[in-house]
């Protein structure tokens, strides 16, 4: 058997794979948070609940409408993104000029309500979601076994992250977004409908969370608290990466997933706390986060 640093290779690569999977979700979720924070100046505490709604929507659509994974992957982010647009129009737009704290409390309250409603309706036990037929099974790479679905999740989230980064940093629409993040009043005075951009940005961020939820459904059980479990770690990721940095959110998400996975191999006792330890260290050395712009 192949060993690396005295660790059997399948264990090492197995944990690396789990780290990359977790990292994919950290990256997708912290990316959405970063996009929303940049434009709305709101720390979206509803994000975990919206991720959970994505997973549930996929589950329910499969269960009751026979809508398969691939269609859900497209339809669910649009659907849940639309509920985000509604939330922005109904609530968030009215507290834009108030202190950050109001947005935080409002979105946190919404998360509690949404999760409560789902728990009432569906109970707290996890519901299984079948891996789509096309991606069942896996391949033996020699040094490890790679399930197809997990490979897909990593590859697809990389693509989504890159596409989002590209759209924001390299396109004309993205330049509107960056400019409106810096000085919304002036961008509006140039004739751009900034309030509509803000609404759509929130919808997009929520849609990303829902997309992550659909992708997570076949890996983790679909349950009302799946979001709140994950989101705590994601907030630590965001703090480490720095609020508002798109690239920072992506890189930190994947990197911390991997670090967490490797910690599980080399120092299992610390695996659940390592991210928070890193967060504390980063906060001491670079309070704005690794990629954050100091304001």
């Amino acid at each position: 058997m192949v060993e690396i640093f005295g660790i059997p290779s399948y264990a090492l690569f197995g944990q690396l794979l789990i780290g990359l999977i977790n990292g994919s979700f950290y990256a997708l979720l912290s990316l959405g948070l970063a996009v929303i924070f940049g434009m709305l100046n709101i720390i979206n505490f509803t994000h975990g609940a919206q991720y959970m709604m994505g997973a549930f929507a996929a589950y329910l659509m499969l269960q009751y409408l026979g809508v398969d994974y691939w269609i859900a992957l497209v339809v669910v982010p649009i659907l849940i993104g639309a509920t985000g647009i509604l939330i922005e129009r109904l609530f968030l737009q009215h507290i834009r000029k108030l202190d950050h704290l109001y947005g935080l409390i409002l979105t946190f309250g919404l998360a509690l309500i949404i999760e409560g409603l789902f728990r009432n309706q569906f109970g707290s036990s996890g519901k299984p979601y079948q891996i789509p037929a096309l991606l069942q099974g896996g391949r033996n790479l020699g040094f490890m076994f790679l399930p197809n679905y997990r490979a897909w999740v990593i590859a697809f989230s990389l693509v989504v992250c890159f596409a989002t980064w590209f759209a924001i940093e390299r396109t004309r629409l993205g330049s509107y977004l960056r400019a409106a993040t810096e000085n919304p009043a002036l961008v509006r005075a140039f004739g751009i409908n900034v309030p509509r951009m803000v609404t759509l940005t929130y919808g997009f961020g929520v849609g990303l969370a829902a997309l992550a939820g659909v992708m997570a459904a076949p890996i983790y059980n679909v349950s009302p608290q799946m979001g709140s479990d994950l989101i705590i770690v994601v907030f630590a990721v965001v703090v480490i990466g720095g609020m508002g940095s798109i690239l920072g959110a992506i890189v930190t998400g994947f990197a911390l997933g991997v670090i967490e996975g490797l910690t599980k191999v080399f120092f299992p006792e610390a695996s659940s706390t390592v991210i928070f330890v890193i967060m504390a260290i980063v906060l001491l050395i670079r309070p704005a986060g690794l990629f954050g712009r100091t304001v």
Partner: protein
């Protein structure tokens, strides 16, 4: 007053920031093709006047008519679409955008804007600096960029807020020539200036502001006769 009717007619303009009442009924007008300068000491409300015309001050009242259309209740994006553009006092160059992105940011809203080649003829420095980060430009270049980017939009009325502030004399001259060229192209310009000597080289008429009101106005021809009064108004 006017042989041609005003392109911009501001009547009894009032503005507030929260509790503080800043504009107390300013009235003035700008005719098509004119360069009109708003003079006044620090803090009298010149910037607030431009921002109120542009719709960037939330609490405002009175009347702002542009091309016959009332703008006082419109949002700033709607006012931009009506054909007004602002070059703010702090310049407002975006640091997360490169020079080209800054230049292309304001969308073309109306026909008749300048094309990029034309803009680069007016501001040759910007052509070579297109890939630089917007805020890496020198102060003078940033000012050029702030003016340049509103020329593409098709706006007919340009609101320029102290474009010479803090710049070297050579650059000020260059900006003066540019404003002259823009006037020749048919742009109408409302300029806020404290640099009186600069304003004298390009303006057709002057309004003097004090405590949020227009207290005097005269054409460039009457400048010499009004010199004494002006020194008093401006405290120079």
């Amino acid at each position: 007053m006017a042989e041609t009717s005003a392109l911009l007619a501001v009547t009894d303009l009032q503005a507030w920031y929260g509790e503080s009442h800043i504009l107390h009924g300013a009235s003035f007008e700008v005719r098509a093709g004119e360069v009109v300068t708003l003079l006044g000491r620090n803090g009298v409300g010149k910037t607030t006047t431009l921002k109120s015309i542009m719709g960037m001050v939330e609490q405002r009242a009175g009347s702002v008519r542009f091309d016959g259309r009332e703008l006082i209740r419109l949002s700033s994006d709607a006012i931009a679409r009506a054909g007004i553009a602002i070059c703010p006092e702090e310049r407002g160059i975006f640091s997360s955008l490169d020079v080209r992105e800054n230049l292309l940011l304001p969308p073309q809203l109306l026909p008749g804007g300048l094309d990029l080649d034309h803009i680069f003829e007016l501001f040759p420095n910007l052509r070579e600096r297109q890939a630089s980060q917007g805020t890496k430009l020198s102060g003078g270049e940033q000012q050029m960029l702030a003016i340049a980017r509103i020329l593409r939009t098709g706006a007919r009325l340009l609101l320029l807020d102290e474009p010479t502030e803090g710049l070297a004399p050579v650059i000020i001259q260059q900006i003066g020539r540019t404003i002259g060229a823009l006037k020749a192209q048919g742009f109408t310009i409302l300029l806020v200036e404290q640099n009186f000597n600069f304003a004298a080289t390009i303006a057709d008429r002057y309004y003097v502001m004090e405590h949020g009101r227009i207290v005097d106005h005269f054409p460039t021809a009457a400048l010499a006769a009004n010199m004494g009064k002006l020194h008093e108004y401006l405290g120079v």
